[in-house]
Symmetry: C2
Subunit: 168 residues, 2 copies
């Protein structure tokens, strides 16, 4: 490892109905109603106190079945190649996914969640509370996304190994 490298360790596993990338919603917005769960490893359960009071949480997770890193991608919602960092495609130098899911309940170290857009078995890295005061900002310009259809988005296999996780 180089000195500047960072070593992370999963703190749990995300369970979802999505077994392969093809057909998986690409954002929680397109996954409304899809239910799943988060199994937090017991050694981190103490950190879940006070979480049940939040309607939504951010999950940070590893895109663990993505094929390779690409700096130019054609996003699911577009037909033009775009700079990777202007997209949410999963083939990132540091393959961290970010999804705002609905929190249904906290039962010990098990979270019941909804609006899940990640693949079953995805390694969990972090949970943060979602708070519109900190997370909702006015943004008039959303680049190439301003020009694409607002309709539902699902993944295909373009970024993944056979059973890879979906883009976020």
């Amino acid at each position: 490892m180089a000195e500047s490298d960072i070593r992370l360790r999963p703190i749990g596993v995300i369970r979802t109905p999505h077994k392969e990338a093809a057909g998986t919603p690409i954002q929680p917005r397109f996954a409304e109603g899809a239910e799943g769960s988060v199994q937090v490893f017991p050694e981190y359960a103490e950190g879940l106190a006070d979480l049940a009071g939040f309607d939504r949480v951010w999950l940070l997770y590893r895109f663990d079945r993505v094929r390779d890193v690409r700096l130019k991608v054609t996003p699911y919602l577009d037909t033009e190649p775009r700079g990777l960092f202007a997209t949410r495609a999963p083939c990132r130098p540091n393959p961290i996914g970010l999804s705002c899911v609905r929190l249904l309940s906290v039962e010990g170290a098990l979270l019941r969640i909804a609006d899940v857009d990640m693949l079953d078995g995805t390694p969990l890295l972090d949970i943060k509370p979602y708070c519109p005061r900190f997370d909702c900002y006015e943004a008039r310009r959303c680049g190439w996304l301003d020009d694409v259809d607002a309709g539902g988005g699902v993944a295909d296999g373009r970024f993944h190994d056979k059973a890879g996780p979906t883009g976020d």
Copy 2:
């Protein structure tokens, strides 16, 4: 390294006016107007294409100067100990910070940004476009945050080494 460990590598450095945790805004919301920059390493510059069209971006970064991991913390905005995952405190098992900053310009591999709430020199892990369609959700219940003052929040030294980064 255990087999499940994940190795990340910084893709750039975040420059801000905040040299130490004490006094640094704890969220972009409390940092309005504070300007900074992101120096993306040249090997990733190609991935910045199309980013200039976005008003805001998510930065994911490493809390690189945090002292230790704690599963119960007293947040900056509260006086009660809370479960870590119900807070945005930086002393996390995987110390990844998440901030939605304003994007002022893209000049080659240099991003000018505003509303910066991280410490100068913070290692950058990822950039994602901010899009209200994907990132703004209704959340009526925000747990303990519903009961605290909505006023400005700044960090002190409680989570950091002497020159540590701020909480997010």
